[in-house]
């Protein structure tokens, strides 16, 4: 099972480190990362494999969200299918 993590906000040091640290701790593998700056907003999109996730999905979601609050960013994790259903036939 794969999920998409998005980080949106102001660029700063340690974003990837902060997020990937949480992921490593709960056995989530990062498959792909891309980042861009769109209209002065830093956007990072991360595709991750959550099939060996060691905690509940909702717990991971909460952890990422609070990390986001701590760094002043919006961080969310969503099941990959929501994007596939919208953008792929």
């Amino acid at each position: 099972m794969r999920a998409v993590i998005t980080v949106i906000g102001k660029d700063k040091i340690g974003i990837i480190a902060g997020i990937s640290n949480i992921l490593a701790n709960c056995n989530v593998n990062i498959l792909d990362i891309s980042q861009t700056t769109m209209q002065d907003v830093f956007t990072m999109v991360m595709l991750v494999d959550i099939s060996k996730l060691s905690i509940q999905f909702s717990e991971l979601s909460d952890q990422l969200e609070s990390k986001g609050v701590e760094m002043g960013l919006s961080v969310r994790i969503q099941h990959e299918d929501i994007f596939n259903s919208m953008h792929r036939i």
Binding site: F57, S61, Q78, D81, M86, H87
Partner: protein, 452 residues
């Protein structure tokens, strides 16, 4: 691999443009809950609803979390209670409504629909009792919604029922006078009612439906408006194409959620209803989509054409995205629930007459219309008759959800709160329809050829 801009587009739709799953509605058949003992019947109803819907809210919340898409309402629709209750010898069905209310509370849903009767051609004993119980049932319960189908293209218009509903609506308003006539906001009078509609207040579980089913209602007027903002001044083919593409994306997402919910609940998947259902929140208005097309105010000349285009393009996009599109699917135009509509009424741009014309080309009817408290029963019946005629002749669903707010006059505003919003009181004709309504009987089913 998904492109970042695609991911951002989806997230923007959800975060900034109020895209949401408006409702996951579980349809439950109560046909096996009939009994000659009313108490036994109610016990069966309560047990069946609380058993089948026990995990509905939890599953909804889990999906919301995992997919990151808000699911605003979790609801239940049941077999029309007139069919279930009429085996019993009880004279008044209010206790059945109370049972539904209690079951809804127990499983944590915010509305339960199906205190309903289908009387397009005539009444059974149970239908009569149910309709007589509606005013008290809706004013003494919080979550129960009621609907009555008074007409269909195949049966014509049951004018006895139309007359009676005028009285029922007035009485419901009177009994809930302290909340502005709120009971009427939970009562819909239909022509050609769909049996799988997930949206309240008109949802019920039709007799041709399976034992238990998941229907999903998707919304997103804000997404359509913001897509149209990017094609300012373009011709109508472009407008239509843009709406279609947007509707397609939204419906695909609805289908995903519906399938996932039905899988997790172990219940069959029914339909996805893509209806642009506005809420009073700014940026979630159907009126503002019409204005984005170039109308100064919703309700001015051109509004019907704009709405026709919108409704049709939404349906086209939706049906391409899912083979299970059903329910109402189109655009809703409830006045009190739409910030743009409220504003248009206040400024004198939008009247009942114009709304009636708009209902000829969109998915429902005169919805959440507040009229003066002294509007007569017959005038309300006549408004229902007009809407039913539009539905019957044009082979479409129409409905009336009208609130004669006790003690209120034109220019007043009635606050309902929450999704129901606030309704400016609208003017009705001062001329009487009394003798017309008092005739009773049935307007015959229309001819379906020689269509001019």
């Amino acid at each position: 691999m998904l492109m970042p801009f695609e991911i951002i587009e989806t997230i923007k739709m959800i975060q900034e443009e109020n895209l949401d799953i408006r409702t996951i509605t579980m349809g439950i058949s109560l046909r096996d809950c009939a009994s000659s003992s009313a108490n036994e019947s109610r016990e069966k109803i309560y047990n069946k609803i609380t058993r089948l819907a026990a995990n509905l809210v939890k599953v909804g919340e889990d999906i919301e979390k995992e997919y990151g898409i808000p699911i605003v309402n979790k609801r239940i629709s049941v077999t029309p209670i007139s069919l279930v209750a009429e085996s019993s010898d009880e004279e008044n069905y209010v206790k059945f409504a109370e049972t539904l209310d209690k079951a809804a509370d127990a499983v944590g849903v915010n509305f339960i629909g199906g205190f309903s009767a289908l009387i397009q051609k005539g009444y059974t004993v149970g239908d009569k009792k149910l309709i007589a119980s509606i005013p008290e049932a809706l004013s003494s319960t919080k979550k129960v919604c009621s609907s009555v189908n008074v007409a269909s293209t195949k049966a014509g218009i049951n004018m006895d029922a139309v007359r009676e509903m005028g009285y029922v609506i007035k009485k419901a308003a009177h009994l809930s006078a302290d909340s502005g006539g709120l009971a009427c906001a939970k009562l819909v009078v239909f022509a050609n009612v769909p049996e799988d509609n997930p949206f309240m207040a008109g949802a019920f579980h039709g007799v041709g439906e399976p034992e238990c089913v998941i229907n999903v209602g998707v919304s997103g007027p804000g997404v359509v408006k913001s897509a149209l903002e990017k094609v300012k001044g373009a011709d109508f083919e472009t407008v239509s194409e843009t709406i279609k593409k947007t509707a397609f994306k939204i419906t695909r997402m609805g289908q995903l959620v519906a399938r996932e919910a039905s899988k997790r609940l172990g219940v069959s998947f029914g339909i996805v209803d893509l209806s642009l259902a506005p809420t009073p929140t700014i940026g979630d208005s159907v009126a503002h989509i019409l204005e984005e097309m170039g109308l100064e105010k919703c309700g001015t000349h051109g509004t019907t054409a704009a709405l026709a285009l919108l409704n049709d393009a939404v349906k086209k996009g939706g049906t391409m995205a899912s083979s299970s599109v059903g329910g109402l699917s189109g655009a809703f135009i409830p006045v009190s629930e739409d910030a743009g509509m409220i504003d248009a009424v206040k400024q004198g741009a939008l009247t009942i007459e114009k709304l009636e014309a708009m209902t000829c080309v969109c998915s429902v009817g005169l919805d959440m219309i507040v009229v003066p408290g002294d509007t007569s029963e017959e005038t309300i019946s006549a408004i229902i008759a007009d809407e039913a005629a539009i539905g019957v002749i044009n082979n479409k669903t129409t409905a009336v959800r009208i609130i004669p707010a006790p003690g209120k006059k034109v220019g007043d505003v009635v606050e309902f709160g929450g999704l129901l919003g606030s309704g400016p009181v609208m003017k009705v004709s001062k001329f009487s329809s009394k003798d017309f309504i008092n005739r009773g009987g049935r307007i015959p089913a229309p001819l379906n050829s020689l269509r001019n």
